[in-house]
């Protein structure tokens, strides 16, 4: 087996799943088997050996392997939840196809081609958008409008650097190239002023696709953009980093404030996730090893919290409703548990920046505050916004969905959500596990 099979296998799986769309059980089996095969393959393949395919070099290293394993587990969890939920729509094939393209982007040795494949990988999940509320297509439409925009800017970078080889005295070319990387950071991560796209998308339906993008896409985008900086350190200029830090701070602040006017818990989850992403970007743009470690710790923990909350919300929304007479007979304890898990997931997102990173012995906020003194006030305002949004949307959710759910929560997705809760509790009690993954990713 060669490295490029890690990309081909999910793509082939996506085709098979699309063909099996009408037969639910075989479709789910093929999707999960594909992911298990990818997981097995990623641990068996030789490391640090370049292989040629389609005229390009493909390589798997330690950091890439860890990132892929995380992406596979994340996708498998989401697909299992989607499979168990009756109303989840056709998400399996687009997610697998996106994962295949993301894998190709990670494994390819040519950063330019990787950064071209990335928008394709980001467009594919849009095909999994489903809703009868216009918000989700509107959010996805905004996302579609922005993700391909960075391509021309990225293609200009090698051309500009070639100009430098011809005319070495024109050092301004390096500055321009550094700035040309900024649209990719802003648009692919949906930073301020595009931070409303993802919560809008999530608010309009089950938050499965947004959760995939938050948990898998963000990690891959950050990995690739950091790889560009590692390959060309001259592009990591202080002026660009400073702008990124400002955008990160504004994303953290305004995403939280926007949560106040959300009408669904999915939307509040989106705002909280974007707010934490703002902090992650602050850490990445700090330009120090401490900032990077704090940012990656926050990113991984955020993925776990987002997965937990979105899984619980999906299962809760999927539950059928009782008649009021039936609902009164029995306390809806399954609905209550799911409601608590969803609310707990959002609260965990707010608590994460104050959690101590075992590798550093202090909280992420205190690490980031060194670079950005206004961070503490901004985060407090943002957290207050999320709490207000959480209070009124969770109350509405309780009255509309939980109280009436009776005993009609499906057992398999309910158990999946509870298992996810136990896993997250384990991670919360032993943060050194997350810290170990962070050091693996930083290889």
């Amino acid at each position: 087996m060669r490295v490029y099979w890690l990309s081909i296998l999910p793509l082939a799986g996506a085709v098979a799943v699309a063909l099996l769309q009408r037969w639910r059980v075989p479709m789910v089996v093929v999707a999960l088997a594909t992911l298990l095969g990818c997981l097995r393959l990623s641990s068996l393949l030789p490391m640090n050996q370049a292989q040629t395919f389609l005229g390009q070099q493909w390589m798997l290293d330690g950091g890439t392997q860890r990132l892929l394993i995380l992406a596979y587990w994340t996708t498998a969890t989401l697909l299992a939840i989607a499979a168990a939920a009756q109303q989840a729509g056709p998400v399996h094939a687009p997610m697998l196809a996106s994962l295949g393209l993301l894998s190709a982007a990670i494994l390819l040795h040519s950063w330019l081609l990787s950064l071209l494949l990335l928008p394709a990988a980001l467009i594919v999940p849009i095909l999994a958008t489903f809703s009868t509320r216009p918000d989700a297509p509107r959010g996805a439409s905004h996302f579609l409008a922005w993700v391909t925009v960075p391509i021309p800017f990225l293609l200009a970078i090698p051309w500009l650097l070639d100009q430098l080889a011809v005319r070495p005295q024109e050092l301004a070319v390096v500055t321009w190239s550094a700035w040309l990387l900024l649209p990719a950071w802003i648009l692919w991560l949906n930073l301020f002023p595009f931070h409303g796209t993802m919560p809008l998308w999530a608010a309009g339906g089950l938050p499965l696709v947004p959760a995939f993008l938050w948990a898998a896409k963000d990690a891959v985008v950050i990995h690739l953009l950091l790889a560009v900086w590692r390959q060309m350190p001259a592009l990591q200029m202080e002026s660009v980093l400073s702008t990124l830090r400002t955008l990160g701070l504004l994303t953290a602040l305004f995403s939280g404030i926007w949560a106040v006017i959300q009408s669904s818990l999915s939307g509040v989850l989106g705002c909280a996730a974007m707010s934490v992403l703002g902090l992650v970007v602050l850490g990445l743009a700090a330009g120090s090893a401490d900032g990077l470690s704090a940012a990656l710790f926050l990113l991984l923990s955020r993925s776990a919290a987002v997965l937990l909350a979105s899984a619980a919300l999906t299962v809760l929304y999927d539950g059928s409703a009782d008649t009021p007479q039936e609902a009164r007979k029995r306390f809806p304890w399954e609905g209550l548990v799911l409601w608590l898990i969803a609310v707990g997931g959002v609260l965990a997102l707010l608590a994460l920046p104050r959690m101590a990173n075992p590798a550093q012995g202090r909280s992420v906020l205190s690490v980031l505050q060194v670079q950005e003194p206004r961070l503490w006030q901004a985060w407090r305002i943002s957290a207050a916004g999320v709490l207000i949004g959480l209070a009124h949307t969770s109350w509405r959710l309780w009255r509309s969905q939980v109280r009436s759910s009776g005993g009609h929560i499906r057992p398999v997705p309910f158990l999946l959500a509870v298992c996810l809760l136990l896993l997250c509790l384990y991670l919360a009690l032993s943060p050194q596990v997350v810290s170990g993954w962070v050091s693996g990713l930083m290889l």
Binding site: I123, T132, L144, L265, T323, P324, S400
Partner: protein
Amino acid sequence: MLPTILRSLEPLAASRALHLVVGLYASGALLLLSPDERLLIPFFLLQRGIVIVLLWSNIGLSLVTVSTAASVAVGLIYLITVWGLFRKAAPAVAQATRGAQPLTYPPLRALAVALALLLTHGLVQRYAPSLLPPLVTWSVAWLLVEFCFALLLAPTPLHSGLGVLAFADAGRILYALTGPDPLVWGVWASCDVLVALAAAHLRTVEVAAYGGTGAECRETAETPPSSEEIPAASLESPPVEEADQDSVAHGELTGHSASSALEREPAEPPEPGGSA
């Protein structure tokens, strides 16, 4: 016959460059002016054809073929989507388009096109880089301005998709000057097709959403529910005293899937403003 046409098209970029650029402006203006998604396809194909002919001498026949194939695929995807929507769910399409009413107002769109032309003129006069030939500068500036206005005025995801493709064309013109790599060009062309697929899917979902909520509105109007019946009906809808647009719009999980909503053809056009 085809080789003859191809042979006659190739030298056009040199002999009729100005006409082609004027054609680019005209087709872009028509794209911006047209709120009707049925008219988008010919205007898009015209604009894309002009861009391909303009680039022909720089990119060669093989990349021209790739670009043409991608453009035809985009056109087909749009055609099938629009045809399917108007055939199966015309009332829902009308309601979805009414949701973006101010953006479909012709005088507003005409004013926007005039503003776009003025803005392009201003941009080129003020910021024209000396590195680029004048016609390239005019073409790229127009496509960039068209992208911005297409997104601002987009009444449907199909319009947004074409705006994105106009931006991609602007980038492609610049990239063609640098001696493009066929693999990069091919990946970029497949991104175009993916953008069209995604835009078509979003339009379908959007129309289904309006169809779904419209049906639900009618059901609600026919049988006014009691305060105890409401909570079970929607994702997070409040009880009847608070039932607002949002509670209706959240009907996504009451058995109305996007596809089933499309398949159900409403008997009459749903009332405007029946959705969020």
